[in-house]
Symmetry: C2
Subunit: 193 residues, 2 copies
Amino acid sequence: MARTKEFNEEQVLDKAIEIFWHKGYNGTSAQDLVTHLGLSRSSLYDTFGDKQKLFSMALKRYQKQGQDYVKNLLEEAVDIKAALTVIFKQAVLESLEDRITKGCFMVNSSVELAMHDEEIAKIVNDNRQTMQAVFLRAVKKGQEAGQISVQQNARTLARFIFNNYTGIRVLARSGEKDKQVYDDILKALFSLF
Amino acid sequence: MARTKEFNEEQVLDKAIEIFWHKGYNGTSAQDLVTHLGLSRSSLYDTFGDKQKLFSMALKRYQKQGQDYVKNLLEEAVDIKAALTVIFKQAVLESLEDRITKGCFMVNSSVELAMHDEEIAKIVNDNRQTMQAVFLRAVKKGQEAGQISVQQNARTLARFIFNNYTGIRVLARSGEKDKQVYDDILKALFSLF
DNA sequence: CTAATTCAGGAACGATTGTTCCGTATTTTT
DNA sequence: AAAAATACGGAACAATCGTTCCTGAATTAG
């Protein structure tokens, strides 16, 4: 019947994540997208609708990837504290390695768009809820297993973990490359567990 | 010799802070500025150069205001822990009260511009250094006075305080209005002091 | 082969971007 | 009162914005 697409939609979305992550929504032009996604203007609009729709598709995909990673790690973890360490060490590693420091696509989008775009606000809030729920379940499990201190209640710790994760991602975005800074934050944070 | 300006430069800068804070750099158009600053296009460019210069002047002014506030509070504080409580409670109050949630102008600018604009990067990094130094001095004083635990060293705590401050401001920017969330974060944070 | 479909490329759209310039009004100093 | 200086409002600028549309080539199914 018809010609098959020459591009893979998911691969294009992954590229879109990279661009929007790096430059933000307002900082990315349609021309940027055409140039770096490797498809024509017409295909872009035919396939994804418009810039805003492409952005939210990219953000949703990024969200799923991040959540899957954290969920899997925490749900299958024997030692919760160790698993949390892995997650945070990984975030620090990314922050230090990135030549172009992109921070976290979700955090960046929260700051840039959440208050101006309802759809993005929905994604961001959903992400926060989900992530805090994931952390909450993990902390509870860790406390029951005696791996995490019960000095603070689980919900408090879950929110606190999320808050420090956010802080670290902003630090990365603003270009901090001193490992000692991140290690200090992690040290203080984990002293609560 | 010449006519006097009909506007007060500092008042205009304060208005510019509000606009850029709310909409970000890329989200604010020249027309937005003309409309809300209450001066003409020509006066705007004659007085401030261009959009980028106006932005960095506004950000610098915001930085000075914020730093003065925190510095004064901490340097003249008898009880450091109490002073830190005031600072964080104030941040939470602003987050809950703001009908239009603006977060923190400095954090917003870090995320949006630091990696794309050297001048902004300089301001942001200078701010981080300065704020951490202010917190460091305060923590040291608090530890010497026996008001703050010496379990963690002062520099670690200073960085940790800053990180959680950042996190809270992002939370505010993304529209969180549940006081309990902020209180949990504060509770966990202050349990370290 | 034919018909149907969708690709890629690029011209073109009106709207908006940041910025400049000009003519006029206004105020201050001599 | 005259002259110098500068603010003012608004027209106008080229450039870029996101988006649409058209053309022709490519590929598939019948």
